[in-house]
């Protein structure tokens, strides 16, 4: 028997074991997936929690419910990977040997990385919304917020779902207006980037949307520390941004065991070939989803599309054939803009998000880079698709590779 070992039963890990269970001969392969607990979080749902949008049981389900019965699910904390021995050591002493290893342990917000964040003001006036606990705490704070400076802050790229802080800002602005509080609140968006987003056309469009909503944008702001006593963000070049309520997106880092195993870069993300997701250091280790260092958005859609390519490639690779599939960095993200509308962006390594139509038989077309109600409904519908189609590994009518169909390329010099 050959062993496929997958670390992490999140979006990528769960899809991989379910798809490969159907594809690999069962008399030749044992498939094992490891996770530390049984709570599978629908992370895109966190965004709505601060505004009372989702309850906990709508975005947390049992992991084991989504892992096929023929796959061995092991609960435990990974201590380290020993790549030369082809074995993974768990913290409780168990050792799991592998022929092929897939690291799919994601990336996590690390508020401890910025001095002052986890101080006396943590979850009093300083919040995050990339954890369910944080999003719930922020909901309680917003319920009693009656004015002042609300600052949305991105610490450092890359972060999971890079549009989420913008979505939070749009939703907060709409929410304050609905409550009659908008005139009493100064909104600011603080980013280490030189604009609202990473890619020019979308950045200009989203920047315009922030300006329309009278959100002050502070760019090129690399945070050094938070001063909890004076309630200011301080940058390395000694600029300060005061806040009454700070919603920060902490530095994101891959799992600590990746660093302990010598498999990570400076943020504990695993260096891989960006088209095959094969480790650049070991020919029996892959990293899929947010855990890798590919220059794509850290997003569920990227995990999903890359898994499609990975699974086909893996089935060839283990029979000694070359991997012919090439992941193109495809991402497809609904961007909530408040008031029951959303935008859609669709892009890859080479093509930035562009305006136009995104055709989808039965459901679409969706408008790209434009606020519509249909896009908002698409975003809400995706939660059902996630639990019922995506995780079980059922087919979804979304092509893995990005298509130029419907997209308009603006005239640029």
């Amino acid at each position: 028997m050959r062993n496929l070992l997958v670390l992490g039963a999140g979006t990528a890990g769960t899809m991989i074991v379910n798809k490969l269970h159907k594809r690999l001969p069962r008399d030749e392969w044992t498939i094992t997936v490891v996770d530390r607990d049984d709570d599978h979080h629908y992370q895109p749902g966190y965004l709505f929690v601060p505004f009372g949008g989702y309850a906990r049981d709508e975005i947390v389900r049992s992991r084991h419910h989504f892992v096929h019965d023929g796959v061995r699910l092991v609960y435990g904390e990974v201590d380290r990977v020993a790549p030369d021995d082809h074995v993974v050591h768990l913290a409780d002493g168990r050792a799991l040997p592998y022929d092929y290893l897939v690291i799919a342990t994601g990336t996590s917000p690390r508020p401890d990385q910025t001095p002052g964040v986890l101080g006396p003001e943590w979850r009093r006036s300083i919040f995050d919304f990339y954890t369910l606990d944080g999003a719930e705490a922020l909901h309680r704070a917003l319920e009693v917020f009656d004015g002042g400076r609300l600052v949305v802050h991105v610490s450092e790229m890359p972060i999971k779902c890079p549009v989420a802080p913008l979505e939070f800002t749009f939703l907060a602005e709409a929410w304050l207006r609905e409550r009659g509080l908008r005139d009493r609140v100064e909104l600011a968006y603080v980013t280490p980037l030189d604009g609202a987003f990473t890619k020019p056309v979308a950045s200009e469009h989203l920047g315009h949307m922030l300006a329309e909503r009278k959100v002050e944008v502070v760019t090129d702001f690399m945070v050094e520390r938070v001063d909890p006593d004076r309630k200011v963000l301080v940058s390395y070049d000694e600029r300060e941004v005061p806040f009454d309520l700070l919603v920060t997106v902490p530095v994101n880092m891959g799992a600590d065991f990746v660093a302990r195993s010598g498999l990570g870069d400076e943020l504990n993300h695993v260096p891989v070939d960006k088209h095959t997701l094969l480790s650049t250091a070991y020919d029996d280790i892959f990293a899929v989803g947010d855990a890798s260092n590919i220059p794509a958005s850290k997003a569920g859609s990227v995990a999903h599309f890359s898994v499609e390519v990975f699974v086909d490639n893996f089935c060839r690779y283990v029979t000694g054939e070359p991997m012919t599939g090439r992941f193109d960095g495809h991402a497809n993200c609904f961007v909530e803009s408040g008031g029951g509308k959303a935008l859609l962006i669709d892009f890859n390594y080479d093509t930035e998000p562009l305006p136009g139509d995104y055709p989808l038989p039965g459901l679409g077309p969706f408008r790209l880079l434009e606020e519509t109600r249909t896009n908002h409904l698409g975003k809400l519908a995706f939660r059902w698709m996630y639990w019922n189609l995506l995780l079980p590994g059922r087919p979804i009518p979304l092509p893995a590779h990005m298509s130029m169909t419907g997209k308009h390329t603006p005239n640029r010099k």
């Binding site: 990473t198 690399m222 390395y236 070049d237 870069d265 400076e266 220059p295």
Partner: protein, 104 residues
Amino acid sequence: MPVTTIAGRDIHVDDEGFLTVYAEWDDDLAKQLAANIGIDLTDAHWKAIRFLREDYRTQGETPTIRRVSTVGGIPTKDLFTLFPSKPGKKMAYIAGLPKPHGCV
């Protein structure tokens, strides 16, 4: 791909002036590029520039500020002093590397 003349030579650059051909760079060019953005190169600047050149050669990507700090051993605070306000971009520009993709 635009071609411009810097230090008396034809150099390939992108729309924003970042070099696009790794091998077209040398120390003299770096001094000229630095002067273009008002920076007079000291030993401390050169330490960062040399790290960027070497890291790009082995990794194939322009290193992030975090990487220059943690792997290159130059504190972020110092990078902001040496290359004020936009160290990531300014270092890459002087080192003749592609603009950092800033992630996506």
